[in-house]
């Protein structure tokens, strides 16, 4: 998504641009696949950063202006409302922030003032200025006197976008607080496929070129400068600037000294297992189905780290993709359940399977999916007897299809905020530059192009 946004931005001003897509479909993590004639989205639970078309300065609307796409023609559906559920308390939030603040005033009266101050602080804070890493947990202690509330606020923000274990950078917290609580969840009308088509058609109408099945094998380097790429089929494409949107690890795999430190430093430890269940609409009244997302922790102390077992069933999110306002009803509805998972354990099981101990990986995946289903049944009501189709993907599936090293969907724990590498004309955009979610990733592409390509003078083709 970040690469496509960067390319649209350049094509808009007449720069010659080629998007190299490794797969046969665009979107990376946010793509889709078909099973039984039905389209399933891969990454999308909900888009963050909701803003109505009238709010000019909101990230979503700035993004659309920058890409020269009509925001008014882009139909959105806002969430019904989501829940943060802990053993001893729960909180509901919608795209109207007063819902959450009223809940907090009622349930955590001692923290009401602190929340107001925190909100003001978030609005004033520039998360993109250069600063050392600061602990979000410690910063929150200064505002919120209720330790449980701190855990509850961190839960959805970490699950939906934190690439570090246990704590998050204050700047990332600010970005996520804004994106999730102050702006909120929505989804586009139609599917992610329609959204990708919109972007692709727009880009091509601006004169941009896309190559599919065009994975990059290596970067062409001379005199400490990148001057092009070599594709897997041996073809070389020369370029004045290369924008890499394959993450820090992928970029270092192509050019080991492009970023400082070791490649392993950039491998994220957090990955997830997600199960998708398809149920008939008629089965829905039997389960709790009034929320768009339920973020849960079965411990009052929220634990966000790579689990010691294959999955951490005590933490996760239950998502109902049909629970957005004004969506057309469908005979079948999805429930998606996501838990933190251990990439290394799944990888080892896969290796064992490859070495003749057949079935290890598949058995593990099935056993843990069943345990998760039983657990979720206790939370929202048992629906296992009504499942007409189900699919589960693991950290390995994510790594295979999205190219995210170790299946770390939120990328590297170290962010390259300026998008610069050691090579002047090799730039990094996307999740590892520090923006998150679909809107964030696309804004990353736009920002990198604005800061490092458009504003530098150069020939008209690039």
């Amino acid at each position: 998504m970040s690469g496509l946004a960067a390319a649209i931005r350049l094509a808009r001003f007449g720069r010659r641009t080629i998007v190299l897509e490794k797969h046969t479909r665009l979107g990376g993590l946010n793509s889709f696949y078909y099973r039984q004639g039905r389209l399933f989205e891969t990454g999308l639970h909900a888009m963050t950063n909701y803003a109505g078309p009238e709010d000019r300065s909101a990230p979503l609307n700035r993004l659309f202006r920058q890409l020269k796409l009509s925001r008014k023609a882009f139909q959105t559906h806002e969430q019904l409302g989501s829940e943060i559920r802990f053993p001893s308390q729960s909180l509901r939030f919608t795209n109207d922030f007063s819902c959450l603040s009223d809940e907090i005033c009622a349930k955590f009266p001692n923290s009401a003032n602190g929340l107001a101050k925190l909100t003001e602080f978030v609005k004033q804070y520039d998360p993109f200025s250069k600063r050392p890493w600061l602990s979000a947990r410690q910063s929150l202690n200064a505002f919120i006197p209720d330790p449980l509330l701190i855990e509850m606020l961190l839960c959805p923000l970490m699950i939906y976008g934190n690439s570090q274990e246990d704590d998050m950078d204050l700047a990332q917290f600010v970005i996520m607080f804004q994106a999730v609580f102050l702006e909120g969840f929505f989804r586009p009308a139609g599917t992610i496929r329609d959204f990708l088509n919109l972007l692709q058609n727009h880009y091509q109408a601006l004169g941009g070129e896309i190559r599919f099945k065009a994975g990059v094998d290596s970067l062409l380097v001379r005199d400490n400068q990148v001057f092009g790429v070599r594709l897997a089929n041996g073809e070389e494409i020369l370029a004045e600037t290369v924008v890499s949107t394959i993450g820090a690890v992928g970029t270092m795999a192509l050019l080991a000294d492009s970023l400082s430190g070791e490649q392993d430093d950039y491998v994220g430890r957090l990955s997830f297992v997600e199960s998708i269940y398809l149920l008939p609409q008629a089965a829905m009244p039997g389960i709790q189905h009034d929320a768009t997302c339920i973020f849960f922790s079965d411990r009052d102390q929220f634990v966000y780290r790579r689990p010691l077992e294959p999955m951490d069933l005590e933490v996760g999110v239950i998502n109902f993709p049909s629970n957005f306002q004004g969506l057309p009803s469908s005979d079948l509805v999805q429930v998606r359940v996501t838990h933190p998972a251990n990439y290394e354990i799944f990888r080892q099981a896969d290796l064992d399977a490859a070495n003749g101990r057949s079935g290890q990986y598949l058995e593990m995946k099935k056993a843990w999916q069943e345990r998760s289903l039983a657990k979720i049944g206790k939370k929202i009501g048992n629906f296992s007897q009504n499942i007409v189709y189900q699919d589960t993907f693991t950290p390995l599936t994510i790594e295979r299809y999205s190219g995210k090293a170790a299946g770390a969907v939120y990328g590297s724990p170290l962010k390259v905020k300026d998008g610069l590498t050691r090579y002047r004309n090799l730039l990094l955009a996307g999740t590892d530059q520090g923006f998150l979610g679909i809107v964030g990733a696309m804004l990353s592409g736009v920002t990198i192009v604005n800061q490092h390509i458009l504003t530098t003078s150069g020939p008209e083709s690039g």
Binding site: R65, Q66, E460
Partner: protein, 83 residues
Amino acid sequence: MTRDAISDVIIEIIKDIDEDADTATLASDKPLRDQLDLDSMDFLDIVMELRKRYKLQIPEEDYPQLATLDSCVNYLEPKLRDI
């Protein structure tokens, strides 16, 4: 290009950037950014569009000279004389 023509071009570019921009009531001696609620990213689009249309390279240190419609015209008039 005449001063009026340059002014029309700027307004056309702004309308192109923002479908809702109300340019009818624009005061030519007041900052464009305040009147139209343009942010720095929108502002960059004006510069880039001028570059695309007229092959004009406007260095970053000259951006302040594009603050109002009048100052845009003053700045661009000598550069667009032959167009």
